[in-house]
Symmetry: C2
Subunit: 536 residues, 2 copies
């Protein structure tokens, strides 16, 4: 991790293809390449953490695990929202916490919370650092200082129960490590968001993440069966229960709590046998509407694939431009699609993971529904192309930022009936705000009652005013989403980005309920201030 530049997602940045560059030239205003500041350039304030607090925290976690050095602090200066990245690229690490504290056990987490309460220090629980909604912003509020509570040392698989198909982890484990540990038991969690390589299990839980295979495996909400959470007033312990009617399901109060109520110290999740077969294929739907009708039927009638994605025509165009297919293959594909009247079509990806008979049965039924909707099969190569690029988004963003392109995403969800309106309105809002822009969208999480919409916006970055440029677009999109009855976030959480709009979904009484819990469990308000709940 430490060898990755502090501004970047990974060690490598994919080159933009020639076709992608020409698409950007054609569709966006002219762009100015930009370079990212290195760690040596990072400007950050002195740590405001009092020496007495440093001492007390060091006695709890060991002095080596209270880090006040510039590099560690700068690497915790916010998450992965566009505004945070451009800030760091400009050398501004002003958002750095006053210290990074790395507890080694659940008891140490509890003790750290107690010490922070005593010293009036705000705490930002820190998993993989991948929040794209400002969930990791250093908002000190009225407190004397702020620490990032980095959970990366709490990365163990604690228990596997293969009779009950559950596994218990510490919260800081990154997904590749979790999957590797499970694979040794022939098991998998199957939770695969785009942030897969860096995000932590605890982060998934508190942000209500949905993985790329959520259509088959379910959201993280559906996978959590038990939890422990340290709070300033004691430990919340929710033992693994397959089903219960013992009051409201308090796991669901932790899911989505974004570190404002406590720090998750243990998570028991449902796991599955490693699938014997994984098959992915691409299809081309003749239109966005026809594709929507197909995926709706797949979600409601079943059986369904584990992965189902439908890109709109613009996103399909961008995907094609970024694909590594040779010119000759592309020409053949174009001719093939033109002959089948889907040349301006919408890409569909389906994926199946399971045993051979199960995959064959589901694939056959889904194929029929796709054909009924007029979709044309592109085959497994298109599926594999998606698999190959499924985690490339954040890497590509770094390349786009270097090229002077604003690149950001947002997501929403609504009922099937409401989806077309929501789609049109958010798209318009982004186009109206950004001017010349490429705005693509896909549906990637199917439910019987509706689906998510995931937008990607590309525009020429307004050098020096990148954050404001996106903030305007984001506000326009949020307003459009709320007006059209969508959720302000399907799987990225609230953080600061959706704080002012969350009340429209939860209502004032709902916010009051959350405030009441917050005040009871965190009476001094030290936990992740300024996140989730609208500011008073």
């Amino acid at each position: 991790m430490t060898s990755i530049p502090w501004t970047d997602w990974g060690q490598t940045k994919p080159a933009l293809t020639g076709r992608m560059e020409s698409l950007l030239r054609k569709e966006l205003s002219s762009t100015t390449p930009s370079t990212a500041a290195t760690l040596d350039d990072a400007r950050l304030p002195e740590s405001a953490l009092a020496p007495a607090a440093v001492g007390d925290l060091g006695r709890i976690v060991g002095p080596g695990h209270v880090r006040t050095d510039a590099e560690t602090r700068a690497r915790h200066a916010g998450g992965q929202a566009y505004a945070e990245i451009v800030r760091r690229r400009a050398g501004d690490a002003g958002a750095a916490p006053d210290a990074v504290v790395l507890p080694g056990s659940a008891d140490e987490v509890t003790a750290v919370l107690r010490a922070c309460a005593e010293h009036d220090v705000a705490v930002v629980p820190w998993g993989g650092g991948t929040s794209v909604v400002g969930g990791l912003e250093s908002i000190r509020g009225t407190h004397s200082a702020l620490i990032a509570l980095d959970l990366s040392r709490l990365d163990a698989l604690l228990d596997v129960d293969d009779v009950s198909s559950t596994a218990t982890f510490q919260p800081g484990i990154r997904t590749p490590a979790a999957e590797e540990a499970l694979a040794a038991h022939g098991l998998t969690l199957g939770h695969v968001p785009q942030s897969f390589e860096r995000a932590s299990l605890g982060g998934y839980v508190v942000t209500r993440s949905a993985g790329q295979a959520s259509t088959g495996y379910g959201r993280i909400d559906d996978l959590v069966v038990g939890l422990r959470m340290a709070t300033p007033v004691g430990e919340l312990v929710l033992p693994a229960m397959p089903g219960s009617a013992a009051g409201p399901d308090l796991r669901r109060l932790v899911l989505g709590s974004e570190g404002t109520l406590g720090v998750v110290t243990e998570v028991t999740v449902r796991v599955r046998r490693t699938p014997a077969v994984k098959e992915y294929e691409g299809w081309m739907a003749p239109s966005w509407e026809a594709g929507q009708e197909a995926v709706r039927r797949i979600a409601q009638v079943g059986p369904h694939p584990d992965i189902a994605r439908l890109s709109d025509a613009d996103e399909t165009r961008v995907s094609m431009a970024m694909s590594s297919t040779s010119g000759r293959s592309r020409a053949l594909l174009s001719a093939y699609l033109r002959a089948r009247h889907v040349s301006e079509g919408c890409l569909v990806i389906t994926g199946y993971e399971g045993d051979r008979a199960d995959v064959a049965y589901r694939k056959s039924a889904v194929r029929k529904m796709l054909r009924d909707a007029g979709a044309v099969r592109l085959g497994e190569r298109a599926g594999q192309a998606w698999v190959h690029g499924r985690f490339s988004g954040p890497y590509l963003r770094d390349s786009l930022l270097d090229a002077g392109v604003l690149a950001e995403t947002l997501e929403t969800a609504t009922t099937w009936r409401n989806l077309p309106t929501l789609y049109a309105d958010v798209r318009s809002a982004l186009h109206d705000s950004l001017g010349r822009a490429l705005v693509g969208c896909h549906i990637s999480h199917l439910y019987p009652t509706g689906a998510s919409l995931y937008f990607t916006a590309l525009a020429a970055a307004e050098g020096g005013r990148e954050a404001e440029q996106w903030a305007r677009a984001k506000r326009a999109a949020n307003d459009a989403i709320v007006a059209a009855g969508g959720t302000v976030t399907h799987h990225h959480a609230v953080g600061t980005a959706h704080r002012d709009h969350v009340g429209s979904e939860l209502s004032n009484v709902g916010l009051e309920a959350l405030r009441a819990v917050k005040e009871r469990l965190d009476p001094l308000g030290i936990l992740n201030p300024g996140k989730l709940l609208p500011l008073a």
Copy 2:
């Protein structure tokens, strides 16, 4: 409804078969028949509701909808727990509310809550009256009086969205009426608990009900997509969202809230196309252990049936004794089972609802898993026998009470690994407490990580001390459940029956979180006092 005796579940009571009578004679201590008091015998106190409150409430809902007559009050004197029934059978309607108020709209509910706050009147929200955990007990606490807020006038289907597969109902609708309204649109909710004929949709929501087909259709928790709830501080509005990460899922705070936080006034649920095919069949597993292994595999590997039940040997014996099969058929069946070495076996019922191809696929896969476990197919007649009797439990209880038999049920759930211990411990606790007793058990709700256990206990009633007799057994069972790591309730809610044990599952911090919400939304504590949360 009014023509049903106030002590009974229905207008008819099934006769006990001769074989059932001889089984009871053989296994229980000697019983003394008992008769139930009629409404004319019902003793109840004067209404304590002040005339000013009656007047104000009448101005809100109409004077005819504030009922203080003895019959209406007596018919709201508690729910369907054994202790409540025996109390009514003895002519004791002391648990009657001071009035029954029937609002005609959500706005009237809000106004009633406001008036009750003004007049210091406790409110017990009342749906179908079927709580078996004391959820409808009249616990006035320190308040001046107590009303039952009967929601039966709020029984409309408000909206059907057949694009999104959702339907919006008022909370008081009973399930047969809801299903009839949906059937006109070719739709079904598929939520079918044993209380189906009388229970209300709002009741399902606030008690976290699970229907007999929950393995296929999901619990009510999974079916609710949107909600409105009137509270003393305003309305909680949670619009229908297929998926969201906008903070904790507050629907889950309403689910299981048991009328302690507010009154649900609108519920949007997921619905499905009416299945083309419904098929049920019976199997005999060679043992409880083999049956468990089979249903676990069904739940974890899939595909699964919509209904899957496994009875232990004792429950299988009782089912056989109550079946209407002729002596000759029984003898043939016994010979058939003996020849296949499952004569002391455990009955398995599987049910499939869907389109023809889907049902055929699932049935074939499940049959193979049952055969692998050594189960022998009894066929569709055994499945139909179960269908025929699936709602008969509460009727049969009335007959058993007449015969002087204590008849009560309780349920729990745990992980698959923990299930055998939980089963053995609860069974022992019931036997130890009740002495000579018939204790049967079944698994009827499968999850990938575990399952529920549903116990039925029959014993000779201790005339005049029935409530104490069961309270002892229930306490022993609750203690055993908690000690073995099960939930104190899988789908009957907490009420008063599990109030003292719920803390073991939610932990003190969890209880504090619930108390905080309760105090914020219901600052005067008028909503269903004494339920769900342990008494201070």
